[in-house]
Symmetry: C2
Subunit: 202 residues, 2 copies
């Protein structure tokens, strides 16, 4: 399996370059589990599905703690048939497969409740795309059921779901949505945007 993300950070500041360069060291604790490649549009992060969201969380929080209005966008994917297998992507643990939706929702909610509180309020919105299956909406509706019980659910929007809360639980919710839905080895993509310090929220 191949899993990873194309990640872009957008600090809305004249000093966006300096803010990003300062934040990148937040990835240091994760580097031995990840492979990184940066170009002018995004940074590719390749690694196990469970590690992607904690690593993105630390990168985003380090940037947002500048106090500057910052957003991060990520195109996250696992199991794409067009990508070669890579040992660095081996899942850390088996996914919660074979569970009923009710148990999956309860397990996900427990994981979100146990997430660290990072004292940073954020908003997020994301879309989940289970690919290569005819009943993709079943997986999406199952995930929405989890989200509504996650404690971070904000509201449904056209094409996506909005979350809100502390960065710890919000990123845990995103990670649970990514690893807990869609077939274990199936192709799943996620389009996610995270925002902090928006003047619209003041």
């Amino acid at each position: 399996m191949f899993s990873g993300a194309q990640v872009s950070l957008y600090p809305m500041s004249d000093d966006f370059v300096g803010i990003i360069l300062n934040a990148i060291e937040a990835l240091d604790p994760w580097r031995d589990q990840l492979r990184l490649e940066t170009d002018s549009l995004s940074t590719l992060i390749v690694g196990p599905p469970e590690v992607l969201f904690p690593a993105m969380r630390d990168l985003f929080c380090a940037t947002a703690r500048s106090g500057i209005h910052t957003t991060m966008h990520a195109t996250v994917s696992r199991g794409c048939p067009g990508e070669p297998d890579d040992p660095i992507c081996t899942p850390v643990a088996g996914g919660p497969r074979g569970m009923s939706l009710a148990d999956l929702v309860a397990a996900g909610r427990d994981r979100v409740a146990a997430a660290p509180i990072l004292e940073l309020d954020i908003a997020a919105q994301f879309s989940l795309y289970p690919l290569g299956i005819g009943h993709h909406m079943d997986e999406i509706y199952g995930c929405i059921e989890f989200l509504k019980n996650s404690g971070t659910y904000d509201r449904s929007k056209n094409f996506c779901t909005a979350l809100r809360g502390d960065a710890g639980p919000v990123f845990e919710t995103l990670g649970q949505a990514f690893t807990g839905f869609g077939f274990d080895t199936g192709h799943l993509a996620m389009d996610v945007t995270v925002s902090a310090n928006s003047p619209s929220d003041r």
Copy 2:
């Protein structure tokens, strides 16, 4: 059918609010064909599939002409079974259905070649997600064949394809990818990022 986009503009400037507010009037010529709703994360643009990309193009170009490093992200969708039909989304013209891939590629290339030149160099990367079908990679590989012949192809990246060139042809390429691939009335989503004035490109 329902079609639209959640669009976010990111000018990397202390004056991001002013730059965005100045740019929004670029949507005025499109307003009678679109419905807009803005919140703190994105602006929902609902309208016919063929109108979405020209409208986003004009919005992005108006912002990028500030000279500030600006990116735009859009989650674009048509035919989602979870969204109600809306008359404002009625396609302006029938899609290029029933054509061979070779003819589809040639027709798309002609449309891109005829696009207006806007004298603004941009980079883009995007992922196309044909949903609810078992052979989604066939549609994706067909689209990649078109992209490689579009005149705006830059390179393949993990999880996405990068384009580069003048804003006119690049947005025409994106629009052709969105309307020309996936089933006519099927569920198709696109995750697209556009960038201008990046210091990495200087």
